[in-house]
Amino acid sequence: MKNQPPAVSADLTQLEKESRSATKAQLAEFWYYFSQNKGAVVGLVIFSALVVVAALAPWVAPHDPGFQFRENFLTPPFWEDGGTTSFLLGTDAVGRDILSRLIYGARFSLFIGIIVVAVSLTGGIVIGLIAGYMRGIVDTLIMRLMDIILSFPSLLLALVLVAILGPGLVNAMIAIAIVLQPHFVRLTRAAVLAERNRDYVVAARVAGAGHIRLMFKTILPNCLAPLIVQATLAFSNAILDAAALGFLGMGAQPPTPEWGTMLSEAREFILSAWWVVTFPGIAILVTVLAINLVGDGLRDALDPKLKRS
């Protein structure tokens, strides 16, 4: 190579700055499209607040979530007759502060969401990549198996799985992850099928990339957009399903302050003490809504079909 000496090596810092600003520009563009969707921003704010509250639960919560105040069974919220400001949202049938339980419950819900999404996302991506990349008999086998899982009503399947594994929060999470996984497999496979014959994949193959590199470094990053959106929806789905399992007595077991379990414990007081059921219900509703809004905004920001070029 009879070319110029690397006169450029001097301004390496310049190069790195340039590279960083390219990355920054991508993030800025992402944020621009995300912030166009006002609902998504509201959802993000609510979700962030929830995360902060959950993280700081021991300092934020006014009482121990498991402590039973023997003189204050079913105290109404503070604005009702007979309510006190020391129990802002009232107490439940055994005298536990509902606000504190909700705050601690946020930890469980977020934990459930994160674990379930992590498990089903990784599993779904790996299986979907293999199916889409290999095609042929492997693809057929995997996809038919996923179709079988999808053909069950999801909550029913989760219920059966928990019945087999035994009730409990961890088993409920495993069951929900298995139920949600086929969606990720399908989505990944579809995206891989669209990408695998693109020129840049062929170019990487000509450059000598092996199967694993092609799958995970070349193709996968270009399939992530729909997966991220699906992941947020699965997050809220997981919270919802976990609450449903908890309500049916198959999820987190009492006295865990999990929202679904709280609802289940409060079932018999629906008519006499509305606050015992209403607040956990609202907590679930608001969380799921916020996450779905964020998912919506992510779709706006990541889906190339909604953008120019």
């Binding site: 190579m1 009879k2 070319n3 110029q4 690397p6 450029v8 090596s9 301004d11 310049q14 190069l15 790195e16 340039e18 590279s19 960083r20 600003s21 390219a22 520009a25 991508q26 693109r198 020129d199 840049y200 062929v202 170019a203 990487a204 193959r205 000509v206 450059a207 000598g208 990339a209 590199r213 070349t218 990053p221 270009n222 070029s309």
Partner: protein
């Protein structure tokens, strides 16, 4: 230079089989039928033909993307048959390809630096610093700036992207570069720039090109030898002047006649004809 053959193709076939289903019998489609040719070191062979005549299939076989059904390919004395022997790093370093569409041939999630370094990373044990220096040199060589190193493909124009694709292809200093319609997705002024770049690179690095195109003016500009393909067969093969001045086969004549003439003289002639008819 004569006799220094770098690419030797003999009796090359590529047959696509469609599987029999309940409603259809198995069919076979021969995309490339018994193609043979030689390319000398440092020269350009242009492969011309209409869509679907097997040009791109030929390119895919030469660049080891697909295997041939039968026949032999030899690059600089190294026989290539990936169905039998697989692909070695040595084979990779000899042949590279530039694709037609610069918008599809670069990974949108990969920075240019990584695009250029990938072939080196995969095929050599070069340390990272050296790879970066080479990539930076290469950027300058194809007419880009060092600060483009850290940018993403979507920040570039079509012509710039094709420069990047060319740079990636010659990172490994291949003996043979297959250009699959490298300029047909670009507008005219950019086409000229890219063709000049290709010519300069050929002189500088002693590259051998197999240039696939359906644009005859481009072919005339760049090629030493021309091969005309029609339905998978070679119907005409000779030096550029032979083929352009005295086409033998009917199809070649038709092809040349179908080339739009945009020079002033021919436009005047056409207008005069129209005026006569009216």
């Amino acid at each position: 230079m004569s006799g220094d053959t770098i690419l030797k193709v003999r009796d090359l076939y590529r047959v696509y089989e469609t599987k029999a289903t309940m409603f259809r019998k198995a069919k076979s489609l021969t995309a490339v039928k018994g193609v043979s040719f030689d390319v000398e070191r440092g020269t350009t062979l242009a492969v011309v033909g209409e869509s679907g005549c097997g040009k791109s299939t030929l390119a895919r076989m030469l660049t080891m993307i697909d295997a041939q059904s039968s026949g032999s390919i030899e690059v600089d004395g190294l026989p290539i048959n990936i169905a039998k022997t697989g692909i070695s790093k040595e084979m990779r370093q000899r042949v590279q390809i530039v694709f037609q569409n610069p918008y599809g041939s670069l990974n949108p999630r990969q920075k240019i630096g990584d695009v250029l370094e990938e072939p080196l990373l995969l095929n050599t044990d070069m340390p990272a610093v050296e790879r970066r220096d080479l990539a930076l040199q290469m950027l300058q060589k194809v007419g880009l700036q060092p600060e483009h190193y850290g940018r993403y493909p979507h920040m570039f124009s079509g012509g710039q992207r094709q420069r990047i694709a060319i740079a990636r292809a010659i990172m490994l200093k291949p003996k043979l570069l297959v250009l699959d319609e490298p300029v047909s997705a670009l507008d005219l002024s950019v086409q000229a720039q890219i063709l000049n770049l290709l010519k300069d690179l050929q002189d500088e690095m002693g590259l051998t090109y197999v240039f696939i195109s359906h644009d005859l003016s481009v072919v005339r500009y760049l090629s030493d030898k021309v091969m005309v393909m029609y339905f998978g067969e070679v119907v005409e093969y000779g030096t550029r002047d032979e083929v352009f001045n005295a086409p033998q086969h009917d199809y070649t004549k038709k092809l040349f006649a179908a080339t739009p003439q945009a020079d002033v003289a021919s436009i005047r002639k056409r207008l005069a004809l129209k005026a006569d008819a009216a």
